[in-house]
């Protein structure tokens, strides 16, 4: 906890506030930052700009912050826990599992109430996680980065095929979900936010609580045991946190690939290998990153809006390729 750390913490928080302000200010109608500040401090429903800011743009910015932070922390925990630089909720199939469960529930039982969405997503994510890990662990040589990524990719393709099949058999129910399935921050009901919040809070609390032991775990199972870590319990807790965070972010925004891959690596560049710092920095950087990505998604092809999830993949996949080249 040196002065360098304090400076980078301040920089990160400052960047996040700036990105938040910019995110709220830009769009189809550009609102000056001064008015944004006014709308937040002295809301006046008779001023049109204030209504835009508070009713439309503010929720979206909040979604971006929550989803970005959740996915980044989930990715950081997975990387630490599996000692696999390529681990991430998207690549290992958890995002697809969660969204598959949500899509199927809506397809078979009609409307899914916002209260149950995170739970259904969590069940989907856990089943997929168990499946991917079981396949990778059964492979000769155990769960290496290669077997994990391969079984994740295969199970993603499998679930994707079933989603496409369900889409064909019942086009009406799925039409509304099509945009959500590419990962988007638009038009989600505020109820979903409230029902996802407990999951995010719970996941974050666990993540912050176990961060110190994850550092030991990242050194190797034997080292962790030697340092007095209860490895099995720690892994279960980390998995619980990952699944809660993934489920909540999928409920809000659909699958956003590669956010959880990129951010923890960037955080590590700033703060080193200590997960007590990596976890909070990942949260902050993830929120900032998703705010900026969402700004780009709205501005690059304006007036057309690209799904935010597509942009995160376009930015994250080259990073993945670079990691493969540099680290493996």
């Amino acid at each position: 906890m040196t002065r360098g750390f304090a400076v980078s913490l301040l920089l990160m928080l400052g960047g996040m506030v700036l990105a938040f302000g910019w995110h709220v200010a830009v769009g189809a109608k550009v609102v000056p930052l001064g008015t944004v500040f006014e709308a937040l401090t002295a809301y006046d429903s008779s001023i049109f700009d204030h209504v835009i800011i508070v009713d439309l743009r503010l929720p979206r910015a909040v979604y971006a912050v929550l989803v970005g932070a959740s996915l980044a922390v989930a990715g950081a925990l997975m990387q630490g826990m599996t000692r696999n630089p390529l681990a991430e909720p998207g690549i290992l199939g958890l995002l697809t599992g969660a969204s598959f469960a949500v899509v199927m529930t809506i397809g078979f039982f009609g409307l899914l109430s916002p209260a149950w969405t995170p739970l259904v997503a969590a069940i989907g994510a856990s089943v997929t996680a168990v499946l991917v890990w079981a396949v990778a662990a059964a492979a000769p040589g155990g769960s290496t980065p290669l077997t994990l990524v391969l079984s994740g990719a295969a199970i993603t393709a499998f679930l994707g095929a079933f989603t496409a099949l369900a889409n064909l058999l019942d086009q009406e129910s799925f039409e509304a979900l099509r945009v959500w399935l590419t990962g988007t921050l638009t038009g989600r009901s505020p109820a979903l936010l409230w029902w996802s919040l407990p999951w995010i809070t719970g996941g974050m609390l666990i993540a912050f609580a176990i961060a110190r032991q994850v550092t030991a775990l990242a050194l190797g199972d034997e080292t962790a045991v030697g340092l007095g870590v209860h490895v099995a319990r720690l892994k279960a807790l980390a998995m619980l946190s990952v699944i809660a965070l993934t489920a909540a972010s999928v409920s809000i925004a659909g699958p956003m690939g590669f956010v959880g891959l990129v951010i923890p690596h960037v955080a590590r560049m700033f703060v080193g290998a200590d997960y007590r710092l990596i976890v909070p920095f990942s949260a902050g950087l993830g929120a900032t990153y998703l705010l900026l990505v969402d700004i780009a998604a709205r501005l690059v092809l304006a007036p057309i809006e690209v799904s935010t999830g597509i942009v995160t993949v376009i930015l994250g996949a080259p990073f993945f390729v670079w990691l493969v080249r540099a680290r493996l």
Binding site: A139, A154, L169, P318
Partner: protein, 349 residues
């Protein structure tokens, strides 16, 4: 196992054929004919065996039968079988050259490259003649294959593992660019591109049959000629070099051949996943054979797979047509997972 040895022209032409593999080729060919017959008979306008026979080889019993068989079902079945054979051969070459049992044109970005090129053409220049699609698909696939090779091969060490992982990353990137393009394009073109992307064989006609047959007719002799290099490359770069094979050129040439096969198939029917992965393994499991016979078996297995996926897809939930690509993915993934678990310890990966 009995081996039949053919020796002609003082040993200039000699073939060693495994009789079991020969038998199985015949059985697969028979299965293919049976599937074709079933496919011609079934659908929303069912026909009897004799009616199909008459339509094909004599005069049709009715105009309706004539149209249904010649205009819709027959070209469709042929395209399915041809595309399956092309995907199977493409996967077999890729697996032999990279010495990687998990290589598949759709897993390492080749299919996605072809898809992106075709979708870009459909969305950005909708006036371009559809007959030119295979060329664009080939260009896109080749560019992506070259990109993956150049990224994965630059450093020494475990090159094949990096090849697969790089392919997955590049595939994700290209798929995202394709979806962005679909959002950007207008809705009609996006719809037609979407149907094609799911791997659907339902809009094909005789043009596709001829273009795929032409592709097979040109590329298969090349493949027969290249098979000798392939059987040596399978033993590893050092052995191949010791036996006098120009490893670098052979590898680049064979990968280009594999990309070409996959690209033409993708251009006709869209990216069908996992056929190129599964067909060579099934062929190897049903019969031990040399490289040449294995390729024949692989082509037949691929043809049977896609032809049956197509017929199941269009009859199981009729009148809704399930694109064959969805079925091949659903059937192919369990095989893929099985291969990950069962892969040989000693095999380089």
């Amino acid at each position: 196992m009995t081996t039949i040895v053919l020796n002609r022209f003082d040993g200039r032409l000699s073939l060693r054929l495994q009789s079991r593999a020969l038998w199985l080729s015949a059985i697969l060919l028979g299965a293919l004919v049976a599937i074709t017959a079933t496919s011609l008979m079934s659908g929303s306008y069912p026909l009897s065996v004799s009616a199909v026979w008459e339509t094909l080889f004599a005069s049709a019993p009715s105009d309706m039968a004539e149209t249904v068989v010649w205009q819709f079902r027959f070209p469709r079945t042929l395209v399915a079988a041809l595309a399956g054979a092309l995907f199977g051969l493409s996967g077999a070459i890729l697996q032999n050259v990279t010495r990687n049992p998990l290589a598949d044109p759709s897993l390492v970005g080749v299919s996605q490259g072809a898809s992106l090129a075709v979708v870009a053409i459909i969305v950005v220049y909708p006036d371009v003649n559809p007959a030119l699609r295979p060329l664009f698909a080939f260009g896109g696939a080749l560019a992506v294959a070259a990109l993956i090779q150049s990224i994965a091969m630059q450093r020494g060490g475990e090159a094949t593992m990096r090849f697969i992982l790089t392919g997955i990353g590049v595939a994700a990137f290209i798929a995202a660019v394709t979806s962005a393009m679909l959002t950007y394009g207008n809705i009609d073109q996006a719809q037609s591109a979407l149907g094609w992307l799911a791997g659907s064989i339902h809009a094909v006609g005789w043009t596709e049959v001829w273009s795929l047959s032409l592709c097979l007719a040109i590329l298969v002799p090349v493949l027969i000629w290249a098979a000798r290099y392939m059987s040596v490359l399978r033993m590893g770069a050092e052995v191949a070099m010791g036996l006098g094979v120009p490893v670098r050129f052979a590898r680049i040439g064979l990968i280009t051949l594999s990309v070409a096969l996959a690209a033409f198939a993708v251009a006709a029917v869209g990216p069908l996943g996992f056929v190129g992965l599964v067909a060579p393994h099934l062929a190897r499991r049903i019969a031990q054979a040399g490289v040449g016979q294995h390729l024949v078996l692989t082509a037949l297995t691929g043809a049977v797979m896609v032809a049956s996926a197509d017929i199941i897809g269009r009859t199981a939930f009729a009148p809704i047509q399930i694109p064959a690509g969805i079925l091949t993915a659903i059937l192919g993934v369990p095989v893929f997972l099985f291969l990950i678990i069962k892969q040989n310890h000693n095999r380089q990966l």
